[in-house]
């Protein structure tokens, strides 16, 4: 570490020495973050404020008076809420199970949940297209059990988007909740149980309240990731169900309106930050902002 060459300034306060060491440690990462991330992103964001002649809010005005774009934002948030709720509904029991079974079974459950994340988004989505499409696996299945007579499918529906997105985002929920549940001692539940409380009662009055931080932070991260995905919603939802991230992509590569892409990017970024900052602080308070959701690999 470069800090070692600075000698040992014994005269300095302990606090200062600590900061200095920390700053040296953090410098390379900060450099990458600033030059290769904040700067380019800033570049795009600035575009949103550049009009024909200098700084202007015209692109923002164009966005906010337009029912179409407000509709896009509405759909984005609606989908994100539903996706988050579904992840929670499936993810909590799964995390609870993973927390209370033996280590081998736990590993298997975790692997099961993170496996889809390890595949490239294009492939994963392709899989869903074949499953959800007309004449696809789901359609064949429904026909086989006699639920429908004709080929059907969930492609180009919001339900289809939710299904495909929950598959990718479920691990973020499960791992975050699992992180909290694992720190919770099972003894507490055991004690409540020996005192005569039923399983469901213990779950409701002991486990669930103690898991709230995990549930909240899991929900925040799922929400943030779901509003910022575009490949899956675009491919599964089709052009008739646009979402914000897809709309940015369209503005940037379809209509080449980089200023407008900048406006939408800014709004998306602000929303994401509004969600991620409480998330980060929540995780920090649990002295564990680092845990959970680590295997975000492969998410768009």
């Amino acid at each position: 570490m470069g800090g070692a060459t600075a000698g040992r300034p014994r005269g300095f306060s302990v606090a200062w020495r600590r900061h200095k060491e920390a700053l040296v440690l953090i410098a390379p990462g900060a450099l990458v973050l600033v030059l290769a991330f904040l700067f380019p992103v800033g570049h795009i964001l600035v575009l949103g404020f550049l009009g024909e002649e200098g700084v202007s809010l015209e692109h923002y005005a164009a966005f906010f008076v337009d029912d179409y774009y407000l509709g896009v934002v509405g759909r984005t948030f609606r989908l994100a809420f539903v996706i988050t709720a579904c992840c929670l509904l499936v993810g909590f029991p799964l995390a609870y199970l993973a927390a209370r079974v033996g280590p081998r079974a736990r590993i298997l459950l975790i692997l099961l949940v993170i496996l889809p994340l390890m595949t490239s988004v294009v492939i994963r989505t392709f899989g869903w297209l074949v499953v959800l499409g007309p004449g696809g696996v789901l359609s064949d299945f429904l026909q086989a059990i006699g639920l429908t007579g004709a080929p059907t499918g969930l492609l180009h529906t919001e339900t289809g988007i939710v299904i495909a997105m929950v598959q990718v985002l479920l691990p973020f929920m499960v791992l975050t909740v699992l992180g909290v549940l694992q720190r919770q001692s099972a003894d507490l539940e055991e004690a409540a149980r020996t005192m005569g409380a039923s399983f469901w009662r213990v779950l409701r009055t002991v486990t669930l309240p103690l898991s709230v931080p995990g549930i909240v932070s899991g929900s925040l991260i799922v929400f943030a990731l779901s509003i910022s995905s575009f490949i899956t919603p675009t491919l599964v939802g089709g052009v008739r169900l646009p979402v914000l991230a897809g709309s940015i992509y369209q503005a940037a590569t379809g209509s080449f309106d980089w200023n407008f892409a900048g406006v939408q990017s800014t709004l998306l970024l602000l929303t994401a930050l509004a969600v991620i900052i409480p998330y980060a602080s929540l995780m920090r308070r649990r002295t564990s902002w680092q845990t959970g959701a680590a295997p975000g690999a492969g998410h768009e």
Binding site: G3, A4, H19, E21, A22, L25, P28, G29, A36, F37, P40, V41, G42, H43, I44, V90, L94, L97, R106, I107, L109, L111, L112, V113, P116, M118, T119, V121, V122, I123, R124, F126, G127, V130, V131, G136, V137, A164, Q167, E189, E190, W200, I221, L225, F230, A252, W258, A261, L269, L273, I277, S281, R284, S288, Q290, A294, P295, A297, G298, E300
Partner: protein
């Protein structure tokens, strides 16, 4: 298993696990099975069975070259991301920096920001201030999206360990380097390994940043797949994906061998 779980809850657990197994694995199974198709199309169920498409992948210069590019890229990115991310994680976990919360949020923000905004921005910056996209430019782009994972995994392990050990080593006269080398790094090792695993995986799988930073002679495997899907989708795409899935599983096994999965996930 804890005692006193009612039959109803056990039944629900079985149903949920069963449903999740199907839900998580069916789309992947579809991809894998399609790769053995004898047909020209990516249709399911595959019509006829053959290994033809695997032969096509290995016989295709473009796929092979893209595979090497992706491998080189991922290895380089993994090395750099762990080198840069580990110290940052130590600082964010053990040092009481003012505004640590916000700093942590900033460091993790590449995780939640749509990669497309970042990819587009990076392309602009490279073009305006440099010579356009290049291999090293792509390395930097991937570095940005991989570092947060190293910070996370290393931070998780360090957060669970005891900073006072490090303090103790220092009080006992170890210099900074010694303290980091002998005390901190061994403690952080499972986190570093996990971070490296994720970094490799992300870099190897990324399609979005690579899409924006395309340059001559550096097509990555996901971009190759993307091109193939756009213009002439045939089961070779499924075959390549299956190979990529196998590589990932191989990595998981490897990390289990050397570290034990339990310490990583």
């Amino acid at each position: 298993m804890i005692s006193g779980v009612p039959a109803g809850a056990r039944a629900i657990a079985v149903i949920i696990v069963g449903a999740v197994v199907i839900f998580m694995l069916v789309p992947l199974a579809v991809v894998v099975l399609s790769s053995f198709s004898a047909s020209q199309f990516l249709v399911f169920p595959p019509r006829g069975l053959s290994l033809h498409w695997y032969g096509a992948v290995f016989g295709d210069q473009a796929y092979v070259a893209a595979g090497w590019t992706s491998l080189k890229l991922a290895i380089l990115v993994t090395a750099l991301a762990t080198l840069v991310g580990t110290p940052a994680a130590i600082a964010l976990t053990w040092h009481r920096l003012p505004g640590r919360e916000i700093l942590a949020g900033l460091f993790l923000s590449p995780l939640v920001l749509p990669t497309l905004i970042f990819g587009l921005g990076l392309l602009m910056v490279y073009s305006i201030y440099g010579n356009g996209p290049s291999f090293s430019g792509l390395v930097v782009g991937h570095l940005v999206i991989c570092i947060p994972f190293v910070i996370r995994t290393v931070g998780a392990v360090l957060g669970a360990s005891d900073p006072s050990l490090h303090e103790a080593a220092r009080t006992m006269g170890a210099n900074r380097l010694q303290a980091y080398w002998h005390v901190v790094l061994p403690q952080a090792r499972p986190g570093i390994a996990a971070g490296a695993f994720f970094a490799f995986n992300i870099s190897f799988d990324d399609a979005v940043v690579a899409l924006f930073l395309r340059a001559p002679g550096m097509e990555t495997l996901p971009i190759r797949i993307y091109s193939q899907l756009e213009f002439s989708p045939d089961p070779s795409v499924a075959a390549v994906s299956t190979i990529m899935i196998v590589i990932t599983i191989g990595l998981v096994v490897l990390i289990d061998r050397f570290l034990g999965l339990r310490r990583v996930v």
